[in-house]
Symmetry: C2
Subunit: 309 residues, 2 copies
């Protein structure tokens, strides 16, 4: 199965209470791809600049990810993001964003990327997400992410593209903002009414909730004593989530499959935040992922109460 | 089994996006008692003023709760709280607090209340919690709640009393404040190091986590489309939690018992917030609680992944 992801490839400079790292490989497509590559063939689509080296390209290609559609813009510079996290890592301040090559990005997918079974539209301008969808030849499952900026400035375009995907993965605050509904369940139902079959509400350190027309499922974040750098956790989650769905692409909407996908996404995200940037996921093993998924099952397990039986 | 609770009995005036109610029966001991009364014999200890009527006393006595130790202070006025919730009900502003009879409250427990098997020290001055503990004849399980005010102004007294209880039930932000640890797991471990065997981190709309020396368990809040008034949710949770432990007082620290207790607390709290004040819990039935506990099991259920087997 092939999963195509279209989104940012970036250099991140990040300061957290645990230190600062400059010019690390980052970006939504990068984090997504590194996670999804455990489960499926991944194809990365996104622009980089002349400053993007072969070492970074090698990291993108970890576990066989196809980087043919990583477009190197001659003379351009790679997207830059600089941010700082607060004491408890739950607040983040963006100190600098330089779109660079992303400013004029026009997605052009090769046949191989178009022919994917699963497609992830990472957080980019909704109009660009639409153009990607127009190029793809009927993937069996499409998910998208977005952000407050597009909800504010390109709401109509975002709503249009949401109407064409199977799954929306947003932070709970973004779901509330998009729908003007303070209640998360109501907000999710409004998004389902636009067309998608699945809404995933990311809740940061608290985990994530999955809402379909028939089901509600909630999974806490994996409990960690040390969180070093939350950057990319959401995209890593999406990579694990869609990666698992790729293994069950004949029935991605089965409740059991979706729940397991939540567990894989949660496990992957928990590894991602243990170290800066892509460091931890690059050297992660499948056995470690499986152990953590089993841990998640244990820490959420609630037996039947015999008093109720 | 007898559960004694010592804490506030209050008149609350609450404004939420769903309306405003004046002078409703409220207070930590009230909410706790109404929830715990489904599971055990409850004894309420707390002061009220001459303005406290027989109707309100009848509500406290719902499902047989013993109100002999509800001390009526002649000429005094009942504790008053007035607050307002924001758009998404996650932010709360206290507009007025009048301690009234609570200002000079000196807990005096009757023999019946002292001889309890379980004791809940609701959020009151740590020094008063200590004096209650000094009076009680070895309850088998003691839990306490507290708040930011006491962490700031009476930290040493609070740490002392924490050292004498089995279980601490606090909001996650309070656990962080108490321990100066940004990480919740580290914060909980620091509290366990003070003596308790169980820490419950309440996480508002996200649910609650339970941390012991051996186990971690996390349970989401019950998903509700309509939340009318969150006041008392934490104390209602504690009432369901300790109530269930009262049914298993021979082994309250068994992992399975603690997890079920989390589910009962969560279920009770979810009913509490559906209507203003005590309205919903007063007319709640055991069957409704049991259905919601089963729902919680379903919405958190994660099967073994056959790929892992």
């Amino acid at each position: 199965m092939t999963v195509t992801v279209v989104g940012s490839i970036a250099f991140d400079t990040v300061r957290t209470p645990f230190g600062e790292r400059e010019h690390m490989l980052g970006g939504a497509a990068t984090h997504f791809g590194l996670a999804a590559s455990f489960f499926a063939e991944v194809r990365l689509v996104g622009p980089v600049g002349g400053d993007f080296g072969s070492e970074e390209l090698a990291i993108l290609a970890t576990r066989g990810t196809n980087v043919d559609d990583v477009e190197r813009v001659a003379g351009g510079r790679t997207f830059l993001w600089r941010g700082e996290y607060g004491w408890d890592l739950n607040s983040r301040q963006t100190l600098d964003t330089q779109l660079n090559v992303f400013e004029y990005f026009e997605p052009k997918l090769s046949d191989g990327s178009c022919d994917c079974e699963l497609l992830f539209l990472a957080n980019i301008q909704p109009e660009l997400q639409r153009r990607v969808l127009d190029q793809c030849r009927g993937p069996r499952f499409v998910a998208l992410d977005s952000m407050d900026l597009w909800i504010e400035t390109a709401r109509d375009a975002l709503v249009d593209v949401i109407g064409r995907v199977d799954c929306v993965i947003l932070n709970d605050a973004e779901l509330r903002q998009l729908t003007a509904r303070p209640n998360l369940i109501s907000a999710a139902r409004d998004v389902l009414a636009l067309g998608p079959s699945v809404v995933v509400a990311k809740q940061g350190e608290y985990g994530a909730a999955l809402i379909t027309r028939e089901q509600y499922f909630s999974l806490p974040a994996y409990p960690l004593e040390t969180v070093v750098d939350p950057t990319g956790a959401g995209d890593t989650f999406a990579g694990g989530f869609l990666g698992h769905l790729a293994r069950h692409v004949d029935r991605p909407l089965a409740d059991r499959v979706l729940r397991q996908a939540m567990a894989y996404g949660t496990a992957l995200a928990s590894f991602n935040v243990e170290e800066f940037g892509t460091e931890r996921i690059v050297r992660l093993t499948a056995a470690e992922i499986h152990d953590r998924v089993e841990d998640l099952r244990r820490i959420t397990h609630l037996e039947h109460d015999p008093i109720l039986a």
